[in-house]
Subunit: 329 residues, 2 copies
Amino acid sequence: MEKIRIGIAGYGNLGKGVEMAIRQNPDMELAGVFTRRDPSSVKLATDGVKAYKMEDIKEMASEIDIMILCGGSATDLPHQTPELAQYVSVIDSFDTHAKIPEHFAAVDAACRQSGNIGVISVGWDPGLFSLNRIYAESILPNGKTYTFWGKGVSQGHSDAIRRVAGVKRGIQYTVPVEEAMQAVRDCKQPELTTRQKHTRECYVVAEEGADLKKIEEEIKNMPNYFDEYDTTVTFITEEEFDAVHNKMPHGGFVMRSGKTGLNEETDQMIEYSLKLGSNPEFTSSVLVAYARAAYRLKKEGAVGCKTVFDIAPAYLSPLSGEEIRAHLL
Amino acid sequence: MEKIRIGIAGYGNLGKGVEMAIRQNPDMELAGVFTRRDPSSVKLATDGVKAYKMEDIKEMASEIDIMILCGGSATDLPHQTPELAQYVSVIDSFDTHAKIPEHFAAVDAACRQSGNIGVISVGWDPGLFSLNRIYAESILPNGKTYTFWGKGVSQGHSDAIRRVAGVKRGIQYTVPVEEAMQAVRDCKQPELTTRQKHTRECYVVAEEGADLKKIEEEIKNMPNYFDEYDTTVTFITEEEFDAVHNKMPHGGFVMRSGKTGLNEETDQMIEYSLKLGSNPEFTSSVLVAYARAAYRLKKEGAVGCKTVFDIAPAYLSPLSGEEIRAHLL
């Protein structure tokens, strides 16, 4: 079997997750890891595969079918994805919602010039949650969609905690409010404020001698991050922090409550949920499945930028049309 | 706006549901209802639309963009879908799993001859549940998928009850076993027998003077339908039957529990569920969304038989690519 040759650009948590996910898919192989660090300092988990400098992508493009970009949405992907799309078909997990139209246009232009495929904003939100929103809203036009996140670690909020003076270590969990979810499940179509949907739980290791009261107040009143939420701050020891808060769990819920019938009197409820032991490992698994889709679309001659909305589900599966109709339909 | 002209073939619960769903979608209109009954005896809910004889479809094909077939899978659809595909693009909810490959081949052949599109097995299972199986299995290749149905009315099992001597009225609810679902959610990947997954609850109005003990035994020991399940039989009055058991609720769950990570040690859980106030109304809503997709595919020049696996989600939505990327991604 001819294997799909995957490249990884950026070898942080997400890049490592992609490497692991490739090992679970026998129709794929890792062709190389590209890094901004010194390649000789990068130790891969896959035997016989090398790390290269980011600049080497240009020369190695012919050895890679799909490049999975594993950088951050804030500063890496906005320029990296369109740049690399000049040389190779690309896929990323760009998640800055407000800037998606702009990113789409840039990647689309680069792909159309080079004849490559680009798939952007792949993961679970944006990604699988987006899919569930479009399916549910198309099927139940009269209804209301809700997204809840958690329980899970928010990287952005954890970073914000760590910027507070006197904080040595910090982590933040976003927690959906059970009563709000229940009201949605009961088809009450409630109007929910930000505060009613999620709470924020912070675990902090303070520097020796720090003013705990002050840290707590500063976190709870931080604009944009915490001030619109009910926030708890719990101080713990460094030992507890390392033992209990060393994972990156996440997850969430997309629900649509709709009405059907002659007088729109019948309640219909669609719910999708994820409970993820590791956010980066799961996002990587989604990226790898869509890399298979991108590879096939490219082979069929497709060009330009796509999102999960534009890709038929059959492209994600290693099985044939006959097999999926017989076993999964 | 040019509206999508929908025809309905078969005006039972499903056909009536399609009529209601069309009213919720401003880009569609009902072009006609086709029935095997005397058309003058059929009263439609939509003003200005007529009922026709089933045979009239041939002559009226040019006035219909997509024909939604609302007959049964046992005897109607196996011949109706390929037959009508000779004249018009079609969509059905064929749900006899074992015969899907055969049905696909027949509809595909008819469509390729006529240049039409046929979409088969659209609804929630097969349909939305199938979508969730393919997405989840493609993303988590190392895992186990579970489908639970209910709580909901099984038409086949209700019919079986009503064939028992001494039964005047009867209805059967399929109920998923909560402990089994919990074990799946806890990522234990249990091996579950038929009996461990679902129970069957029967509500029966007996004929006057009937032997209740005998009815109960006959139901509980009925091969294929009840003997492999824990079944309860509750005798009720006709008044209670009419008051409480006059709806067709249904629903269910698709879950995939998978492992990721270097040593496949991380638990990942995907769950999709439906809680439907009316099974036929919801199935109709899915059919209508896929009728939009079929219409667009046909316009693009696509030909042949498709399933939900072959259709990109964007085709289902009335919104443009820009709108879905801005609002749903």
